[in-house]
């Protein structure tokens, strides 16, 4: 990457980071909460982009990874006292990784379209299991728990305020973004993109495509689970709804709206979608998905590169 582009990137990144960090200090509580939520969904969308944008696999299974991240954190916070932040994160990630491994094993045997369907089916399997296993998961009503404090348990623990919670989420999302970015630019990331471009040729060259796909799914699932953990910490609530396939669907929408294969795009897409939802629900109340769905379809047809892709093209002119 050219030195000038590198510098531009870091400057841009720092500016946006500063803006987002300052946000909770200047915004009213509703919007402060909104920005934090956008970051969390943005992380989920980014994780999904690894599959959709870089490997060329549409996954409808992210609700399972996200949901298990939420429940994993919930489990840690409910079962172990005093509530331990790092245990919550660890358990959430492990739960998500296990589910991702399971799904990866079955879905990566199949190509493109079949992959989408099987991830959908699997995410619904998890939904049904969680929904019906009410003794453990609280079924429809879900579980509530308390947020742990930040710090090292036993030594120094400080409670989260909404502002510090926001900064914590921002830090996790920013670091995740940088890690994912690094991965997409690594040789591994290059192989993924090669799989997206031409799977049979990549296989012919000698790469074990199934293995790469599995790792991609697990990686994607891990970060989706991390988003789930953040959600649990932010909202202190876990419910079967988060494992419902609609979450996967909305994730895919964020990706498409923002621009697949750009990593930052999905985050923009999430912001765009959530803002649209706010705006549209003022006029359409709970039926906001009708105009939003139409906008989405129109974007698939006319703006397939998403907002970011469109902006890039416009800037290059």
């Amino acid at each position: 990457m050219i030195r000038r582009d590198r510098r531009l990137f870091w400057i841009g990144f720092a500016v946006i980071l500063a803006l987002l960090a300052a946000a909770p200090l200047v915004l009213p509580p509703f919007w402060r909460h909104f920005v934090t939520e956008v970051l969390i969904w943005g992380l989920l969308a980014m994780s999904s982009d690894i599959l959709i944008g870089y490997t060329g696999l549409i996954s409808f299974g992210h609700s399972a990874f996200f949901g298990l991240g939420v429940y994993g954190a919930a489990a840690a916070l409910l079962l172990v006292a005093p509530p331990n932040l790092f245990l919550a994160i660890a358990l959430g990630l492990v739960a998500a990784a296990l589910v991702a491994g399971f799904v990866a094993y079955f879905s990566t045997r199949l190509r493109d379209i079949y992959f989408a369907i099987t991830t959908l089916i699997f995410s619904q399997i998890f939904y049904v299991v969680i929904f019906t296993w009410t003794s453990v998961t609280g079924g429809e009503n879900g579980l509530t728990f308390t947020r742990p404090g930040l710090g090292i348990p036993g030594l120094y623990v400080v409670r989260f305020t909404p502002v510090t919670m926001h900064w914590f989420v921002l830090a996790v999302v920013a670091v995740s973004y940088l890690i994912l970015r690094r991965i997409t630019r690594s040789p591994f990331g290059m192989v993924l993109q090669s799989i997206r471009e031409n799977e049979s040729r990549t296989r012919a060259i000698g790469y074990h495509v199934e293995h790469y796909k599995m790792v991609a799914v697990m990686l994607s699932g891990l970060f989706a689970g991390l988003a789930g953990v953040l959600y649990a910490l932010q909202n202190e609530f876990a419910a079967a709804d988060f494992v419902f396939f609609l979450v996967s669907g909305e994730t895919v929408i964020y990706n498409v709206m923002g621009g697949i294969g750009t990593l930052a795009g999905p985050l923009v897409g999430a912001a765009f979608f959530l803002l649209l939802r706010e705006a549209l629900s003022r006029y359409f109340t709970e039926y906001y998905l009708i105009p939003l769905g139409i906008i989405f379809i129109a974007m698939v047809i006319f703006m397939p590169q998403g907002l970011l892709g469109f902006a890039r093209r416009w800037l290059n002119r």
Partner: protein
């Protein structure tokens, strides 16, 4: 443990009944996928709209069969319109875009139904009343009638495909799209027609299934999921395979509900899916030559 033979027979009948309707839903999906390479995520919503239209027509005319016909025709037209507006522009692009587009359509249709009809479920009255004795049960006739109607529709379509004039168009387009065009077959319209037929099948299943369950905006979700499982287990793109798989999966679930609750019985179909993916990923009748 004594084997509950009477329950097994009853559940066999139930399984076949549900299986036939599921077969109708699944074959519409398979048709659209096999011929157009489109995964129709909105299929469940077309099913749901068919059911609602059935409710409306039944309320105003009192005839179940009229409801069946009108609902199918209206949804067929809707399907054709959707295909022309949203799917034709996507021909030639990455096939994954059609998944996204149909997913978008499903969201819009679901919420439209929610808006127009509200969340409270409605009922479609049975077409035929009366029961017969099946062991200790009074088994309603209409269930058998519905199963027969589904079978009839599938059979009629199969005949159309084999002997009808436009059936040849569809079969030729499936085998070699380019040469079909070179023979003067208007392939873009064949696609529209196929999508319309698939939509009509979904709508018909919705009306037929109406008397068995409540009609509500989200009913499509559960059924499209089952339909997808059936399509994968049967072998994607294999018409006959999805019909057999539909009955097979429904029977499994019916037998399972003898011992567990219905919402848990669905786990059986999940297991069937997993086993199929493990041992025969192309489906039981897979690597189909359509």
């Amino acid at each position: 443990m004594t084997i509950p033979w009477d329950l097994i027979v009853i559940q066999t009948v139930n399984g076949v009944v549900t299986g036939m309707i599921l077969a109708l839903v699944a074959s519409g999906l398979t048709l659209i996928f096999g011929i157009m390479d489109v995964v129709n995520f909105a299929h469940g919503e077309l099913f749901m709209l068919g059911a609602y239209l059935g409710v409306l027509v039944l309320a105003s005319t009192g005839s179940f069969w009229l409801a069946l016909i009108i609902a199918s025709l209206v949804v067929a037209l809707l399907g054709a319109a959707l295909q022309i507006v949203t799917l034709r522009p996507l021909i030639g692009r990455d096939p994954l875009t059609t998944i996204l587009a149909t997913f978008g359509i499903s969201l819009v249709l679901q919420n439209y139904a929610l808006w127009q009809f509200g969340p409270i479920s409605r009922k479609i009255a049975e077409p035929v009343s009366g029961q017969f004795r099946l062991f200790y049960l009074e088994y309603p006739w209409y269930r058998l009638v519905i199963a027969a109607a589904s079978a009839a529709i599938i059979g009629a379509f199969w005949l159309f495909l084999k002997y009808g004039r436009y059936g040849i168009w569809i079969r030729a387009t499936t085998q070699d799209r380019v040469m079909a065009q070179a023979m003067g077959i208007p392939v873009p319209w064949v696609y529209t027609g196929v999508f319309a037929i698939g939509s009509a099948m979904a709508a018909a299943s919705g009306v037929l299934f109406g008397p068995l369950v409540g009609v509500e905006p989200y009913m499509g979700l559960a059924w499209v999921l089952k339909a997808f499982i059936v399509v994968v287990v049967g072998g994607m793109g294999n018409f006959g395979g999805s019909i057999v798989a539909a009955i097979f999966v429904s029977l499994l679930e019916a037998y399972a509900s003898i011992w567990v609750s219905p919402s848990q019985a669905i786990i059986v179909s999940f297991v069937a899916l997993i086993l199929t993916l493990l041992f025969r990923p192309t489906g039981l009748f897979g690597s189909a030559v359509r």
